[in-house]
Amino acid sequence: MPGKRQGMYWIVVGAYIVTHFLLYVVVFRRVRYFGTERGIFLFHLVPAATLTLSLTVWCGWPPTQDGLALIVGAAAAHGIYSLSFLESWALSEGGYSLRALTEIVRRGSVTASELERHFVELSAQKKMVRMGTLLNLQLVRAEGDRFELTFIGRLVANILALIAKLARFRAPS
């Protein structure tokens, strides 16, 4: 049970996360399935859930104050690592702005209209891919020739609108 050897448990949690990363570097990044969005997401979700559940079982239920601190802290540490990893993965896979910047670097100098012509097809594809993803995730459904939000989709959209309001982005109104 946690509490006596302060700091020791964090070394174990850190080692778990480092081992996960090394396994990706040495083995899993060469496996085709883990190059897909679903594969890489599960590669992080399953170990994070395993770590949290294992610690919950080990600490006993209900956990002591120190036990709860260890469970929440370990889940947060895995969350920081996984979110950083997945953001880097997704951004390097399909970041639109980065693709545009890469094209500017590749050409050295380019006019805005040349860049627009180059990316107009990609913009069209991106829209269709994103709508397909929203339909697959059942956040949006097609009703006749129109698209509308599902119950979960509306919930997510309301959260996004609230974030936009709090952070003063221009949300549609």
Partner: protein
């Protein structure tokens, strides 16, 4: 539970302070505003927890605060830049046909907004009617090419 309440309260304070910085201090970017207020609040949290609690509970509080902050910044960037998120926020107002969605998300306007953003953050520089990458922009491209290679994206 001081570590848990402290971490959550510090995060809520950082979100509220971000709103204040955006509205009244003239900071233009949501994420920049959040970093500006989130770092000092985080430092205050670290010192307070270490003075009051054991190392274990202090580490937990700090990790929870750091995770909440990272998740918030992720949600900010999704809301700000994701095409799917913007589609959902429009569909929240009313159902739309594909034609209406195409009119809202004009192909040319999508790339124009990205070019404007690249110039705004200093990754690209406008010379007359031409765009060139800044030093920072070139380093960013190199970094993400290394990432693409590491993750095996074709």
């Amino acid at each position: 539970m001081t570590w848990l309440v402290g971490a959550i309260a510090a995060f809520v304070a950082a979100v509220l302070a971000q709103g204040f910085a955006l509205r009244f201090l003239g900071v233009r970017h949501g994420i920049v505003a959040f970093v500006l207020v989130g770092v000092p609040i985080g430092l205050i949290l670290v010192v307070s927890l270490l003075l009051e609690l054991s190392l274990d509970r202090s580490i937990s509080g700090v990790l929870l605060y750091a995770f909440l902050c990272e998740f918030w910044m992720f949600m900010l960037s999704v809301t700000f830049s994701s095409v799917a998120a913007k589609m959902m926020m429009h569909l929240r107002l009313r159902p739309m046909s594909l034609v209406e969605i195409n009119q809202l998300f004009d192909n040319r306007a999508m790339i124009q907004s990205r070019i404007a953003w690249l110039a705004d953050v200093g990754a690209a520089i406008r010379h007359d009617d031409h765009l060139v990458a800044s030093g920072g922009g070139q380093r960013l491209v190199k970094l993400f090419e290394a990432f693409r290679s590491f993750f095996g994206h074709s």
